[in-house]
């Protein structure tokens, strides 16, 4: 039996008929064609499918679409505005925090909640904060730098250097 649900994604309402077993990530990618949210492991390990539900980061491969009825969903497509990139996108861009880019949408959505709860995290807090997101390219250092940079930017502080470090 299908259910009629309305998902509010990045401020726009989408009404659809879904089977209760449809995962939220599939509803977002296939029914709404927002393919910026990636499917990596499909087992809630990798974090590539991370989105925000009512501001809380969630692995959308482990949430049913019917559970998101009436909730505010934010995906990577909603970050940039007419004025330009979101600070977290700018941070990832300037700090070379991606190689292949597959983990990046999930990583950024997770970082947004992390910075909202803890605007000025230490390096250790950032590493614990993104412990549910796997990146197989960068070795994480530039991702941590990007989040530190974004933290400074969002608080109007002096921006750390974005020059690559050679060690």
């Amino acid at each position: 039996m299908t259910k009629k649900i309305t998902l509010k994604i990045n401020g726009t309402e989408h009404t659809m008929e879904v089977e209760p077993r449809m995962l939220l990530v599939h509803a977002i990618r296939e029914n709404v064609s927002l393919t910026g949210t990636h499917i990596g492991c499909d087992t809630s390990s990798c974090g590539a499918c991370t989105i925000l539900i009512d501001g809380k980061s969630a692995k959308s491969c482990t949430v049913l679409a019917v559970q998101a009825q009436g909730k505010e969903i934010a995906t990577v497509e909603g970050l940039a505005t007419a004025e330009g990139l979101h600070p977290i996108q700018e941070g990832f861009h300037l700090n070379h925090a991606l190689h292949c880019g597959f983990c990046t949408p999930g990583m950024m959505m997770r970082a947004i909640e992390l910075l909202e709860k803890n605007p000025n995290p230490t390096e250790e807090e950032i590493r614990w904060g993104i412990s549910g997101n796997l990146c197989r390219c960068t070795g994480y250092n530039n991702i941590v730098k990007a989040i530190e940079w974004t933290s400074a930017k969002m608080q109007g502080k002096d921006l750390p250097s974005t020059e690559p470090e050679f060690v």
Binding site: S44, S45, E113, S131, G132
Partner: protein, 289 residues
């Protein structure tokens, strides 16, 4: 991976949820945080015909001290425990444990009640609840009943929660006097089940004598385990180094770990001994603060 088809209801009251459980029979499952159940359904290890989502029922999420208990609503999420002021101030064992449970996104969903009701000895809260001497409130058609944690776990994925019932509250005797608690698990990576985990609670009188002790073990036996001999050697003692060593040795001897990818039996027993000793020392320091 897609689960088998099922029907979905999201009741807004406990009475409605219990009525639905009775209506649909034992093929119905309760959906709490869903981060154990949904993966199992995707792998088709579980194929309930009805899911009853209890996330829309108000009043099941809280952390408060009342009537001599720390009371935690069954639908309280791990993240809400992590951020609770009373937990920070008096029950640091939950800070130790939640940090090591899965990852931040999963902790945004996972609930304490679900962690217990799942009935998995590999989960972390069962050992914590054993150490703290918790009791669990279960609500059914006839009303509420209370089950002590030692009678709660019946077998692999089975607990005292009968069909047609919902786990609604967890009650822990409130911390008083010189009270200390600590938890640690060895894990290979974030999100892994424990290779071995140990939860400890001690209460100490003004003369330095142990008046109460609780030790629970994670993932080293088919059911979450109470290290009874270890507790007995601690209570009434002065918690000397020799007593702690004896308690740690008993815990290592009395568990029954099985070999898997995380290690062989000998290694796991060794871990239980080491972690028991370290957590006892940590809990004692916290108790004396």
């Amino acid at each position: 991976m897609i689960a088998e088809n099922f029907n979905y209801d999201a009741p807004t009251s406990l009475e409605e949820a219990i009525a639905l459980l009775h209506q649909y029979g034992d093929e119905a499952k309760i959906l709490a945080g869903g981060h154990s159940l949904i993966p199992m359904m995707k792998l088709r290890f579980a194929s309930p015909t009805h899911l009853i989502d209890i996330n829309n029922i108000p009043g099941l999420s809280y952390v408060k001290e009342e009537d001599g208990y720390l009371k935690i609503g069954a639908m309280t999420k791990e993240v809400e425990v992590e951020e609770s002021e009373i937990i920070h101030a008096k029950y640091p064992i939950f800070m130790d444990a939640t940090k090591l449970i899965a990852d931040p996104q999963v902790r945004n969903f996972g609930t304490l009640g679900g962690n217990l009701a799942h009935g998995d000895a590999a989960n972390d809260h069962p050992a914590v609840m054993i150490a703290l001497g918790a009791e669990v409130e279960i609500t059914g058609k006839e009303g509420k009943r209370t089950v002590g944690i030692d009678d709660f776990f019946h077998g692999f994925y089975t607990t005292a929660v009968e069909h047609g019932e919902v786990l609604t509250e967890i009650r822990i005797p409130a911390a008083s006097g010189n009270y200390g608690s600590a938890y640690h698990k060895a894990e290979r990576k974030v999100g892994d089940y424990a290779t071995a985990g140990v939860a400890v609670m001690v209460q100490i009188d003004d003369q330095g004598r142990c008046t109460k002790a609780g030790i629970g073990l994670t993932n080293v036996s088919p059911l979450p385990l109470r290290a009874t001999r270890s507790e007995e050697v601690l209570v009434g003692s002065d918690l000397s180094e020799a007593v702690i060593a004896q308690a740690a040795q008993y815990a290592a001897e009395d568990c029954s770990p099985t070999e898997d990818l995380r290690g062989n039996e000998e290694y796991k027993r060794h871990l239980v001994g080491i972690i028991t000793k370290r957590m006892l020392n940590k809990a004692i320091v916290r108790a004396k603060k």
